[in-house]
Subunit: 204 residues, 2 copies
Protein backbone atom coordinates (compact mmCIF):
# COMPACT_ATOMS: atom_id res chain seq x y z
CA UNK A 1 0.00 0.00 0.00
CA UNK A 2 1.29 3.46 -0.96
CA UNK A 3 0.69 6.28 1.49
CA UNK A 4 1.55 9.92 1.06
CA UNK A 5 3.20 11.57 4.05
CA UNK A 6 2.21 15.18 4.72
CA UNK A 7 5.71 16.52 5.33
CA UNK A 8 8.63 17.91 3.39
CA UNK A 9 11.07 16.29 5.81
CA UNK A 10 13.13 13.23 4.77
CA UNK A 11 14.00 12.44 8.43
CA UNK A 12 10.32 12.18 9.26
CA UNK A 13 9.82 9.80 6.34
CA UNK A 14 12.55 7.52 7.75
CA UNK A 15 11.06 7.55 11.27
CA UNK A 16 7.57 6.85 10.00
CA UNK A 17 8.85 4.14 7.66
CA UNK A 18 10.38 2.39 10.71
CA UNK A 19 6.95 2.27 12.37
CA UNK A 20 5.06 0.94 9.37
CA UNK A 21 7.13 -1.77 7.73
CA UNK A 22 5.53 -3.08 4.56
CA UNK A 23 4.04 0.26 3.55
CA UNK A 24 5.59 2.62 1.01
CA UNK A 25 5.67 6.30 1.95
CA UNK A 26 5.81 9.05 -0.64
CA UNK A 27 6.45 12.73 -0.01
CA UNK A 28 4.64 15.63 -1.74
CA UNK A 29 7.80 16.31 -3.76
CA UNK A 30 7.68 12.76 -5.15
CA UNK A 31 4.63 13.97 -7.09
CA UNK A 32 6.10 17.39 -7.81
CA UNK A 33 3.87 19.09 -5.23
CA UNK A 34 5.22 22.03 -3.19
CA UNK A 35 5.04 21.76 0.60
CA UNK A 36 4.61 24.87 2.69
CA UNK A 37 1.50 24.27 4.81
CA UNK A 38 1.32 26.64 7.79
CA UNK A 39 0.77 24.79 11.08
CA UNK A 40 -1.75 27.22 12.51
CA UNK A 41 -3.72 24.75 14.66
CA UNK A 42 -4.00 25.02 18.43
CA UNK A 43 -3.62 21.27 19.02
CA UNK A 44 -1.42 18.47 17.66
CA UNK A 45 -4.50 16.85 16.17
CA UNK A 46 -5.60 20.05 14.42
CA UNK A 47 -2.16 20.54 12.89
CA UNK A 48 -1.94 16.94 11.72
CA UNK A 49 -5.44 17.20 10.26
CA UNK A 50 -4.77 20.43 8.38
CA UNK A 51 -1.55 19.01 6.92
CA UNK A 52 -3.31 15.80 5.85
CA UNK A 53 -6.29 17.65 4.37
CA UNK A 54 -4.03 20.04 2.44
CA UNK A 55 -2.01 17.23 0.87
CA UNK A 56 -5.13 15.19 0.11
CA UNK A 57 -6.67 18.20 -1.67
CA UNK A 58 -3.47 18.56 -3.73
CA UNK A 59 -3.36 14.87 -4.67
CA UNK A 60 -7.03 14.34 -5.42
CA UNK A 61 -9.28 11.45 -4.34
CA UNK A 62 -8.14 7.88 -3.75
CA UNK A 63 -4.73 8.67 -2.25
CA UNK A 64 -4.41 7.86 1.47
CA UNK A 65 -2.45 10.52 3.37
CA UNK A 66 -0.75 10.22 6.76
CA UNK A 67 0.23 13.25 8.83
CA UNK A 68 2.06 13.51 12.11
CA UNK A 69 2.25 16.35 14.61
CA UNK A 70 4.07 15.99 17.86
CA UNK A 71 5.76 17.91 20.63
CA UNK A 72 6.60 18.33 24.27
CA UNK A 73 4.14 19.50 26.94
CA UNK A 74 5.77 20.65 30.20
CA UNK A 75 3.84 21.17 33.44
CA UNK A 76 5.94 24.21 34.43
CA UNK A 77 4.99 25.81 31.09
CA UNK A 78 1.28 24.99 31.52
CA UNK A 79 1.50 22.42 28.73
CA UNK A 80 3.91 24.44 26.56
CA UNK A 81 5.77 24.55 24.27
CA UNK A 82 3.17 22.10 22.85
CA UNK A 83 2.37 22.83 19.21
CA UNK A 84 5.17 25.42 19.31
CA UNK A 85 7.81 22.80 20.26
CA UNK A 86 9.79 23.10 17.04
CA UNK A 87 9.66 26.89 17.15
CA UNK A 88 10.27 27.38 20.91
CA UNK A 89 12.39 30.51 21.44
CA UNK A 90 12.54 31.29 17.73
CA UNK A 91 11.71 34.65 16.19
CA UNK A 92 8.77 34.31 13.73
CA UNK A 93 10.07 34.31 10.17
CA UNK A 94 13.70 33.80 11.24
CA UNK A 95 15.64 30.51 11.17
CA UNK A 96 14.57 28.33 14.15
CA UNK A 97 17.04 27.80 17.01
CA UNK A 98 19.31 24.74 16.88
CA UNK A 99 18.19 21.83 19.10
CA UNK A 100 21.08 22.58 21.49
CA UNK A 101 20.13 26.25 21.84
CA UNK A 102 16.46 25.34 22.25
CA UNK A 103 17.29 22.81 24.97
CA UNK A 104 19.51 25.33 26.79
CA UNK A 105 16.69 27.88 26.63
CA UNK A 106 14.19 25.33 27.95
CA UNK A 107 16.43 24.47 30.94
CA UNK A 108 16.95 28.15 31.74
CA UNK A 109 13.22 28.90 31.46
CA UNK A 110 12.29 25.95 33.68
CA UNK A 111 14.86 26.96 36.31
CA UNK A 112 13.19 30.34 36.63
CA UNK A 113 9.63 28.94 36.62
CA UNK A 114 10.62 26.39 39.23
CA UNK A 115 11.69 29.16 41.59
CA UNK A 116 8.30 30.84 41.13
CA UNK A 117 6.30 27.60 41.47
CA UNK A 118 8.43 24.91 43.17
CA UNK A 119 5.38 22.69 43.92
CA UNK A 120 4.67 22.07 40.22
CA UNK A 121 7.57 19.66 39.69
CA UNK A 122 9.32 18.84 36.41
CA UNK A 123 6.68 16.54 34.91
CA UNK A 124 6.22 16.58 31.15
CA UNK A 125 4.94 14.44 28.29
CA UNK A 126 5.81 13.83 24.69
CA UNK A 127 2.63 13.77 22.59
CA UNK A 128 2.14 12.49 19.04
CA UNK A 129 -0.96 12.82 16.87
CA UNK A 130 -1.21 10.73 13.71
CA UNK A 131 -4.01 11.35 11.23
CA UNK A 132 -4.84 9.01 8.36
CA UNK A 133 -6.92 10.83 5.78
CA UNK A 134 -8.66 8.42 3.41
CA UNK A 135 -11.18 11.00 2.16
CA UNK A 136 -12.76 14.16 3.62
CA UNK A 137 -15.32 11.85 5.24
CA UNK A 138 -13.10 8.94 6.25
CA UNK A 139 -10.48 10.00 8.77
CA UNK A 140 -8.75 8.00 11.52
CA UNK A 141 -6.63 9.56 14.22
CA UNK A 142 -4.61 8.42 17.20
CA UNK A 143 -3.00 10.62 19.80
CA UNK A 144 -0.66 8.99 22.29
CA UNK A 145 1.63 10.33 25.01
CA UNK A 146 4.47 9.19 27.22
CA UNK A 147 4.93 10.69 30.66
CA UNK A 148 8.35 11.74 31.91
CA UNK A 149 10.41 14.43 33.60
CA UNK A 150 12.67 17.18 32.30
CA UNK A 151 16.21 16.66 33.63
CA UNK A 152 18.47 19.55 34.66
CA UNK A 153 21.07 18.65 32.02
CA UNK A 154 21.04 16.60 28.79
CA UNK A 155 21.86 12.87 28.78
CA UNK A 156 22.39 10.54 25.83
CA UNK A 157 23.25 11.03 22.19
CA UNK A 158 20.46 9.22 20.33
CA UNK A 159 17.21 10.69 19.02
CA UNK A 160 16.89 14.42 18.37
CA UNK A 161 15.27 17.60 19.63
CA UNK A 162 14.26 17.48 23.30
CA UNK A 163 15.11 13.75 23.64
CA UNK A 164 18.28 14.23 25.82
CA UNK A 165 16.28 16.22 28.42
CA UNK A 166 13.29 13.86 28.64
CA UNK A 167 13.69 11.18 31.32
CA UNK A 168 11.38 8.14 31.37
CA UNK A 169 11.18 6.98 35.02
CA UNK A 170 9.78 3.56 34.01
CA UNK A 171 12.91 2.85 31.92
CA UNK A 172 15.46 4.84 33.95
CA UNK A 173 16.72 6.45 30.73
CA UNK A 174 16.26 9.57 28.69
CA UNK A 175 14.65 9.31 25.28
CA UNK A 176 18.15 9.93 23.82
CA UNK A 177 19.48 6.85 25.67
CA UNK A 178 17.00 4.42 24.08
CA UNK A 179 18.02 2.17 21.23
CA UNK A 180 16.20 2.84 17.97
CA UNK A 181 14.17 -0.33 18.46
CA UNK A 182 13.31 0.59 22.07
CA UNK A 183 12.31 4.10 21.01
CA UNK A 184 10.07 2.76 18.25
CA UNK A 185 8.31 0.63 20.83
CA UNK A 186 8.09 3.03 23.81
CA UNK A 187 7.95 6.55 22.40
CA UNK A 188 4.81 8.64 21.90
CA UNK A 189 5.22 8.18 18.13
CA UNK A 190 5.83 4.45 18.52
CA UNK A 191 2.67 4.03 20.64
CA UNK A 192 0.56 6.05 18.21
CA UNK A 193 2.08 4.13 15.29
CA UNK A 194 1.13 0.77 16.84
CA UNK A 195 -2.53 1.83 17.12
CA UNK A 196 -2.55 3.29 13.62
CA UNK A 197 -1.07 0.02 12.34
CA UNK A 198 -4.12 -1.83 13.66
CA UNK A 199 -6.35 0.48 11.62
CA UNK A 200 -4.17 0.32 8.51
CA UNK A 201 -4.08 -3.47 8.54
CA UNK A 202 -7.89 -3.54 8.69
CA UNK A 203 -8.24 -1.66 5.40
CA UNK A 204 -9.27 -3.82 2.46
Amino acid sequence: MEIFLATGNEDKRREIQDLFPGLTFLLPRDRGLPWDVKETGTSFFENALLKAAALSAGLGPGRPVLADDSGLCVDLLAGGPGVESARFGSVPGAKPLSAEDRNALLLQTLEQRERESPETGRGARFVCALVLFLSPYRIYSVQEAVEGEILKAPRGSGGFGYDPLFFLPSLGKTMAELSREEKNRRSHRGLAGAKMNLLLRSLG
Copy 2:
Protein backbone atom coordinates in the same frame (compact mmCIF):
# COMPACT_ATOMS: atom_id res chain seq x y z
CA MET B 1 -14.45 -2.52 30.77
CA GLU B 2 -16.68 0.39 31.80
CA ILE B 3 -16.95 3.30 29.39
CA PHE B 4 -18.85 6.52 29.90
CA LEU B 5 -20.91 7.68 26.96
CA ALA B 6 -21.04 11.43 26.35
CA THR B 7 -24.78 11.68 25.77
CA GLY B 8 -27.98 12.12 27.73
CA ASN B 9 -29.84 9.89 25.28
CA GLU B 10 -30.89 6.34 26.21
CA ASP B 11 -31.51 5.42 22.56
CA LYS B 12 -27.91 6.27 21.72
CA ARG B 13 -26.74 4.08 24.59
CA ARG B 14 -28.68 1.14 23.12
CA GLU B 15 -27.27 1.68 19.62
CA ILE B 16 -23.72 2.00 20.87
CA GLN B 17 -24.13 -1.01 23.15
CA ASP B 18 -25.08 -3.06 20.07
CA LEU B 19 -21.79 -2.16 18.41
CA PHE B 20 -19.58 -2.92 21.40
CA PRO B 21 -20.75 -6.16 22.97
CA GLY B 22 -18.82 -7.00 26.12
CA LEU B 23 -18.38 -3.39 27.20
CA THR B 24 -20.56 -1.65 29.77
CA PHE B 25 -21.72 1.87 28.92
CA LEU B 26 -22.65 4.39 31.57
CA LEU B 27 -24.37 7.75 31.02
CA PRO B 28 -23.47 11.00 32.81
CA ARG B 29 -26.70 10.68 34.82
CA ASP B 30 -25.53 7.28 36.14
CA ARG B 31 -22.97 9.31 38.12
CA GLY B 32 -25.40 12.13 38.90
CA LEU B 33 -23.78 14.46 36.36
CA PRO B 34 -25.95 16.91 34.39
CA TRP B 35 -25.70 16.78 30.59
CA ASP B 36 -26.22 19.94 28.57
CA VAL B 37 -23.08 20.32 26.45
CA LYS B 38 -23.62 22.68 23.50
CA GLU B 39 -22.55 21.17 20.19
CA THR B 40 -20.86 24.27 18.82
CA GLY B 41 -18.23 22.54 16.63
CA THR B 42 -18.06 22.97 12.87
CA SER B 43 -17.31 19.28 12.22
CA PHE B 44 -18.57 15.93 13.50
CA PHE B 45 -15.15 15.25 14.97
CA GLU B 46 -15.05 18.59 16.80
CA ASN B 47 -18.48 18.01 18.31
CA ALA B 48 -17.61 14.48 19.41
CA LEU B 49 -14.34 15.74 20.89
CA LEU B 50 -15.93 18.58 22.83
CA LYS B 51 -18.59 16.25 24.26
CA ALA B 52 -15.96 13.68 25.26
CA ALA B 53 -13.64 16.30 26.79
CA ALA B 54 -16.50 17.86 28.77
CA LEU B 55 -17.60 14.55 30.27
CA SER B 56 -14.02 13.50 31.00
CA ALA B 57 -13.43 16.79 32.84
CA GLY B 58 -16.58 16.15 34.89
CA LEU B 59 -15.61 12.58 35.76
CA GLY B 60 -11.93 13.14 36.52
CA PRO B 61 -8.96 11.06 35.38
CA GLY B 62 -8.98 7.32 34.71
CA ARG B 63 -12.48 7.11 33.20
CA PRO B 64 -12.56 6.32 29.47
CA VAL B 65 -15.21 8.32 27.63
CA LEU B 66 -16.74 7.61 24.22
CA ALA B 67 -18.59 10.25 22.21
CA ASP B 68 -20.42 10.04 18.92
CA ASP B 69 -21.45 12.73 16.49
CA SER B 70 -23.09 11.93 13.22
CA GLY B 71 -25.27 13.31 10.48
CA LEU B 72 -26.21 13.54 6.85
CA CYS B 73 -24.21 15.45 4.19
CA VAL B 74 -26.10 16.13 0.97
CA ASP B 75 -24.42 17.27 -2.26
CA LEU B 76 -27.32 19.56 -3.20
CA LEU B 77 -26.90 21.30 0.18
CA ALA B 78 -23.09 21.61 -0.26
CA GLY B 79 -22.56 19.03 2.48
CA GLY B 80 -25.43 20.19 4.70
CA PRO B 81 -27.25 19.72 6.97
CA GLY B 82 -24.03 18.11 8.35
CA VAL B 83 -23.50 18.98 12.02
CA GLU B 84 -26.94 20.63 11.95
CA SER B 85 -28.68 17.37 10.92
CA ALA B 86 -30.67 17.00 14.15
CA ARG B 87 -31.67 20.68 14.11
CA PHE B 88 -32.40 21.03 10.36
CA GLY B 89 -35.33 23.41 9.88
CA SER B 90 -35.73 24.04 13.61
CA VAL B 91 -35.91 27.44 15.21
CA PRO B 92 -33.01 27.94 17.68
CA GLY B 93 -34.24 27.50 21.24
CA ALA B 94 -37.56 25.94 20.13
CA LYS B 95 -38.44 22.23 20.11
CA PRO B 96 -36.77 20.52 17.09
CA LEU B 97 -38.99 19.35 14.24
CA SER B 98 -40.23 15.75 14.28
CA ALA B 99 -38.31 13.35 12.02
CA GLU B 100 -41.29 13.27 9.64
CA ASP B 101 -41.48 17.04 9.36
CA ARG B 102 -37.70 17.27 8.94
CA ASN B 103 -37.75 14.68 6.16
CA ALA B 104 -40.60 16.47 4.38
CA LEU B 105 -38.67 19.74 4.62
CA LEU B 106 -35.53 18.06 3.24
CA LEU B 107 -37.42 16.65 0.24
CA GLN B 108 -39.00 20.01 -0.47
CA THR B 109 -35.66 21.84 -0.18
CA LEU B 110 -33.90 19.34 -2.46
CA GLU B 111 -36.65 19.60 -5.06
CA GLN B 112 -36.06 23.33 -5.28
CA ARG B 113 -32.26 23.04 -5.32
CA GLU B 114 -32.45 20.37 -7.98
CA ARG B 115 -34.31 22.75 -10.27
CA GLU B 116 -31.55 25.34 -9.76
CA SER B 117 -28.71 22.85 -10.17
CA PRO B 118 -29.94 19.69 -11.95
CA GLU B 119 -26.37 18.50 -12.73
CA THR B 120 -25.50 18.02 -9.03
CA GLY B 121 -27.55 14.86 -8.56
CA ARG B 122 -28.99 13.47 -5.31
CA GLY B 123 -25.78 12.04 -3.84
CA ALA B 124 -25.34 12.13 -0.06
CA ARG B 125 -23.48 10.40 2.75
CA PHE B 126 -24.13 9.48 6.33
CA VAL B 127 -21.08 10.32 8.45
CA CYS B 128 -20.21 9.18 11.98
CA ALA B 129 -17.34 10.38 14.15
CA LEU B 130 -16.49 8.38 17.27
CA VAL B 131 -13.99 9.75 19.79
CA LEU B 132 -12.49 7.69 22.61
CA PHE B 133 -11.03 10.00 25.24
CA LEU B 134 -8.66 8.15 27.57
CA SER B 135 -7.01 11.34 28.87
CA PRO B 136 -6.44 14.84 27.48
CA TYR B 137 -3.31 13.46 25.82
CA ARG B 138 -4.57 10.03 24.74
CA ILE B 139 -7.39 10.31 22.23
CA TYR B 140 -8.46 7.97 19.44
CA SER B 141 -10.96 8.88 16.76
CA VAL B 142 -12.55 7.27 13.75
CA GLN B 143 -14.77 8.93 11.20
CA GLU B 144 -16.52 6.74 8.67
CA ALA B 145 -19.10 7.39 5.98
CA VAL B 146 -21.49 5.51 3.72
CA GLU B 147 -22.38 6.86 0.30
CA GLY B 148 -25.94 6.89 -0.94
CA GLU B 149 -28.71 8.90 -2.59
CA ILE B 150 -31.67 10.82 -1.25
CA LEU B 151 -34.91 9.31 -2.61
CA LYS B 152 -37.92 11.42 -3.59
CA ALA B 153 -40.14 9.73 -0.98
CA PRO B 154 -39.49 7.73 2.21
CA ARG B 155 -39.18 3.91 2.13
CA GLY B 156 -39.03 1.47 5.05
CA SER B 157 -39.97 1.62 8.69
CA GLY B 158 -36.77 0.67 10.53
CA GLY B 159 -34.10 3.02 11.88
CA PHE B 160 -34.90 6.64 12.61
CA GLY B 161 -34.28 10.19 11.40
CA TYR B 162 -33.28 10.44 7.75
CA ASP B 163 -33.00 6.64 7.32
CA PRO B 164 -36.16 6.20 5.13
CA LEU B 165 -34.84 8.75 2.61
CA PHE B 166 -31.29 7.37 2.35
CA PHE B 167 -30.89 4.77 -0.39
CA LEU B 168 -27.78 2.53 -0.50
CA PRO B 169 -27.27 1.56 -4.17
CA SER B 170 -24.92 -1.31 -3.21
CA LEU B 171 -27.70 -2.93 -1.14
CA GLY B 172 -30.70 -1.75 -3.17
CA LYS B 173 -32.40 -0.65 0.08
CA THR B 174 -32.88 2.42 2.20
CA MET B 175 -31.24 2.57 5.61
CA ALA B 176 -34.77 2.11 7.06
CA GLU B 177 -35.14 -1.19 5.14
CA LEU B 178 -32.06 -2.81 6.70
CA SER B 179 -32.36 -5.33 9.50
CA ARG B 180 -30.81 -4.22 12.79
CA GLU B 181 -27.94 -6.64 12.25
CA GLU B 182 -27.38 -5.43 8.66
CA LYS B 183 -27.48 -1.80 9.77
CA ASN B 184 -24.92 -2.47 12.52
CA ARG B 185 -22.62 -3.93 9.90
CA ARG B 186 -23.12 -1.52 7.00
CA SER B 187 -24.03 1.87 8.47
CA HIS B 188 -21.64 4.77 9.04
CA ARG B 189 -21.89 4.13 12.79
CA GLY B 190 -21.35 0.40 12.31
CA LEU B 191 -18.23 0.97 10.20
CA ALA B 192 -16.80 3.49 12.68
CA GLY B 193 -17.66 1.15 15.55
CA ALA B 194 -15.78 -1.74 13.94
CA LYS B 195 -12.60 0.35 13.69
CA MET B 196 -13.00 1.67 17.23
CA ASN B 197 -13.44 -1.92 18.42
CA LEU B 198 -9.97 -2.76 17.08
CA LEU B 199 -8.51 0.06 19.17
CA LEU B 200 -10.56 -0.79 22.28
CA ARG B 201 -9.53 -4.45 22.16
CA SER B 202 -5.87 -3.38 22.03
CA LEU B 203 -6.08 -1.55 25.37
CA GLY B 204 -4.46 -3.40 28.24
